[in-house]
């Protein structure tokens, strides 16, 4: 005589109950209809074909398709047998996969459609991150160390600066040809560094007074006297203009927070016992 309790502990019964439960979800997965029935539906064919195409760039032919279906049937049988035997519980790869899936589930709970108010507040708190850099438009006259050495070039630059400040026209100044010409329109620091080299030059241009000749400044090529024509300060864009990138950043951050929150909440439900530290007094 078999007791009711023993029946309830019977793994086969559990399996059958599970099978019955899954039966109701037949539409969800062919596998669930009957553990002993492997059904090859149109949906299965479509997914096999799509996966093949993704890997090899072409649709499988008729023969290849037959082979894919045979593989699918064999894989299903093996998989179900493995589940029956309880394989996978101790397998590191399976464990990682399950963990990954649970994490995905958690991330799915993150809000997908933040309101404009939420995004605007996020933007206000970090508007620096979205600002365009300051830019300067300038003219420059170049004095090369190839012409009279370092001291000679500096000397010529100083003389030219003094004359320009007294109102001498540019055409009367004997400067040296500069590879990128005399005129530079609205460059940011990075662009100035590309054209003139690293060092103090970009900062000196940024600090030079507007509509006046100043210098001499040393670039990676030699000495320059500079006239700043125009300057645009660093500019924070309007919320509407950068809404898309704010939304992407917000979603990234939200997702990370949800991940952390979910994990913390999950851990609350567990007793974590650190027997490894049991002999050491915890601070």
């Amino acid at each position: 005589m078999i007791s009711a309790r023993a029946v309830l502990r019977e793994p086969l019964l559990h399996f059958l109950l599970l099978g019955m439960m899954l039966y109701g979800l037949a539409a969800v997965h062919a596998r669930a209809t009957d553990p002993r029935r492997i059904e090859v539906t149109q949906g299965v064919l479509a997914s096999l074909s799509a996966r093949y195409e993704q890997q090899f760039g072409v649709r499988p032919g008729k023969e290849r398709m037959e082979q894919l279906v045979n593989d699918y049937v064999a894989d299903e049988a093996l998989y179900r047998r493995g589940i029956e035997l309880g394989l996978g519980a101790e397998d590191e790869v399976v464990r990682r996969r399950v963990i990954q899936k649970v994490r995905f589930l958690a991330e799915g709970e993150a809000a997908r459609n933040p309101s404009d108010e939420t995004l605007a507040a996020y933007f206000r708190a970090r508007s620096d991150r979205y600002a365009t850099p300051a830019r300067t438009a300038f003219r420059q006259l170049y004095f090369s160390p190839d012409n009279g050495g370092e001291a000679g070039a500096l000397d010529r630059a100083r003389t030219a600066l003094a004359r320009l400040r007294r109102g001498a026209p540019i055409s009367t100044i004997a400067d040296d040809p500069f590879v990128e010409g005399r005129q530079f329109a609205l460059l940011d620091d990075g662009q100035i560094e590309r054209a003139f080299g690293l060092g103090d030059f970009a900062a000196e241009i940024a600090a030079a007074p507007l509509a006046k000749w100043s210098g001499p400044f040393r670039s990676g090529y030699g000495w320059h006297v500079v006239f700043v024509d125009d300057r645009r300060p660093s500019h924070t864009p309007r919320f509407e203009d950068v809404r898309a990138s704010i939304r992407a950043d917000w979603l990234d951050e939200e997702q990370a927070q949800v991940r952390e929150r979910t994990l913390a909440k999950l851990l609350e439900g567990f007793d974590v016992v650190r027997t490894d530290r049991s002999s050491v007094a915890m601070p």
Binding site: G57, V93, P177, E180, A185, L186, G190, A195, S219
Partner: protein, 624 residues
């Protein structure tokens, strides 16, 4: 002088610009800074110099992964374009951003290292993958594993590579930013028969590329060309760039094809079509020339790495392994067959395996995977040869800091830069951003390089680097070369500009180096044919130098005093900087360790232009 294309001028005329510069055409009331964005897609008909990397490995390269590289595609691109990234827990940024890049991971087992290392990867879920993981965990030799995987038909090996390639293509397309930062889809075909290097990097022009043809598909370059040609027929354009000819044992520029048959017209045509450039300088030495091949070239002994790859590091045969020799062979083959297979231009790269492309001496510390800024004292001792690395017989201090490719292109886009590579309007540098221009023409008497407007006239009346000069006809004057070189604004002054000439004397190639511009008013001694040394400002105690010698810019208009209109000849420009401390010296000073004795303490960084070919008796437009 007004810049031909002022940077601030916003060009809204063409549909191309309209589509990219969304700000164009907005109402004037729009916020002002949007409208002031520099016209990054404005085309300069006189062409700009862009500097880039055409040879970089990330963790997707199997050997890189084994050597400890973990930097992936995103950080590789972000670092190259100048973003700050996190490297080993601390931020790091490239000194100067690159203008363009191609990430060229090895096709062979691409992505397998990452797939094996990741317990969640599809590969790790296969029986074979798990066996591989177990063996590695039990201390199995990863390099032996690499060989095993190369011949394994196991399921999962190919699909891991397919997935890695998809990621590589996707990342290249995602980071391409026309006008600012150009990326090319690329990979490395790594054929090394008997440790003789035949490697090529394949660079794609557009946004699509089929699965790579690898050296496992075939180790013969001719078969790689078949792949390129088949793609081309399908509208997918690409080219292959050989590198490390110096380690090819003479095979890279051989007289024979892969079937050991003399090179014929068909081979020459295919090679020209598929391989317009050679990478002549990188981490494992330069392939311009060797002191034993060019005994009269006092600058030939530069970053020599004349060994084969592989654990034994046997000597690599010199003839056929260097481009100067190849240019001469090309002229001989042209005389014999009517076609020259070795009419290629110059490129440079890093070949670093750590995902972070660097090019200056400060950034390199003897490791292919870790930048100098993250090298600890133990690694520094290995790099400087103080501590032996049992893995290697050749010391790490024999490797060099990486090189760069310079291109002259209208704008920083895939199309413009790729087309420049195709027409060979490129130059290689040992890592410096030294710019060089080189033209030849029959009617150049009135043009003075460096004067405002000279470039425009030079293009109008002659041929830039990479081109052919046909026999005289229209011009009243002799063949004249225009030379211009400008220092790297963050680097050293220039010592001299030289024109290297290779010509055919009967069936024998000859070579000669002419000093065409010397800094500091030096003159060539007419008796010896040599110029005095520029000297040195290097202080080995502090690993520093000053720009108190040398020139910012060098220019020359030059006519070949040995010109013979009946002799075919190849001319290229080499511009040499004043001496600066080599990376070994910089690292030794930083760590307070001795400077290695087995390698020079200083070097003279340099740039090499693609050649200009003089072809007597050829009609304009004939040949290739």
């Amino acid at each position: 002088m007004f810049h031909p294309f002022p940077r601030g001028a916003v060009l809204c005329a063409t549909p191309l610009l309209l589509s990219v510069l969304a700000a164009c055409g907005d109402s004037p009331a729009e916020s002002v800074p949007q409208a002031s964005v520099a016209p990054v897609l404005a085309e300069n008909p006189d062409r700009n110099a862009y500097f880039g990397e055409l040879h970089l490995h990330t963790a997707l390269s199997f050997d890189a992964y084994i050597m400890g590289a973990r930097v992936g595609l995103d950080d590789a691109y972000r670092f190259a374009r100048g973003d700050e990234i996190n490297m080993m827990g601390r931020p790091i940024r490239r000194d100067v951003p690159l203008d363009f890049i191609s990430v060229t991971d090895h096709a062979e087992q691409m992505g397998l290292g990452v797939a094996i290392g990741d317990p969640e990867s599809e590969f790790s879920s296969t029986e074979y993958g798990q066996s591989v993981r177990r063996r590695l965990a039990d201390g199995g030799n990863p390099f032996a594993l690499m060989t095993e995987l190369s011949s394994s038909p196991a399921r999962g090996v190919r699909s891991a590579s397919i997935s890695a390639w998809q990621k590589s293509v996707e990342a290249a397309n995602r980071y391409n930013d026309p006008g600012r930062f150009t990326t090319f889809i690329g990979y490395e075909w790594s054929s090394t028969p008997g440790n003789q290097n035949l490697h090529r990097n394949v660079i794609f022009r557009g946004d699509q590329a089929p699965f790579p043809f690898s050296s496992q598909d075939s180790p013969r370059p001719e078969d790689l060309w078949t792949y390129l040609e088949a793609n081309r027929a399908n509208g997918v354009e690409s080219l292959a760039i050989p590198h490390n000819a110096n380690a090819s044992n003479g095979l890279m520029y051989d007289w024979l094809d892969s079937n050991h048959r003399p090179i014929d017209e068909a081979y020459a045509k295919r090679r020209l079509l598929n391989e317009p450039l050679s990478e002549i300088v990188q981490n494992k030495g330069q392939s311009e020339t060797h002191p034993l091949l060019s005994p009269n070239d006092e600058f030939a002994s530069f970053e020599i790495f004349d060994k084969l790859f592989g654990p034994e590091e046997k000597p690599s045969k010199l003839p056929g392994s260097y481009v100067r020799d190849a240019y001469g062979r090309g002229l001989v083959l042209e005389r014999r067959t009517g076609f020259n297979p070795y009419k290629f231009g110059m490129a440079g790269g890093s070949d670093l395996h750590g995902g972070l492309s660097s090019s200056n001496e400060q950034s390199y510390g003897g490791s292919t995977t870790v930048p100098a800024a993250r090298i600890d004292r133990e690694q520094a001792k290995k790099s400087l040869g103080i501590m032996n690395d049992p893995q290697r017989t050749l010391p790490l201090f024999a490797t060099g800091s990486p090189g760069l490719t310079g291109v002259w292109a209208e704008t920083n886009t895939r199309q413009s830069i790729f087309d420049a590579m195709r027409r060979k309007e490129t130059f290689a540098t040992s890592g410096t951003r030294l710019k060089v221009r080189f033209f030849a023409g029959w009617d150049y008497d009135a043009i003075q390089p460096g004067k405002p407007g000279w470039v425009h006239q030079a293009y109008a009346k002659g041929t830039p680097m990479g081109g052919d000069m046909q026999v005289a006809g229209q011009g009243r004057h002799g063949l004249r070369f225009l030379v211009w070189a400008l220092k790297d604004p963050n680097g050293a002054n220039l010592d001299r500009a030289q024109i290297v000439k290779v010509w055919l004397d009967g069936e024998t190639p000859r070579e000669r180096v002419f000093d065409v511009a010397l800094s500091g008013g030096r003159k060539v001694n007419s008796a010896t044919g040599k110029a005095p040394s520029v000297g040195s400002t290097v202080d080995l105690e502090t690993a520093t130098y000053t720009n108190s010698i040398g020139a910012v810019q060098l220019t020359a208009g030059w006519e070949d005093p040995t010109f013979d209109p009946s002799q075919p000849a190849v001319y290229y420009l080499r511009v040499v900087e004043i001496p600066t401390p080599r990376w070994t010296t910089i690292l030794a000073v930083r760590e307070g360790l001795p400077i290695p004795q087995g390698t020079p303490a200083t070097l003279q960084e340099r740039a090499w232009s693609s050649p200009i070919w003089y072809l007597p008796g050829r009609m304009a437009g004939a040949g290739s």
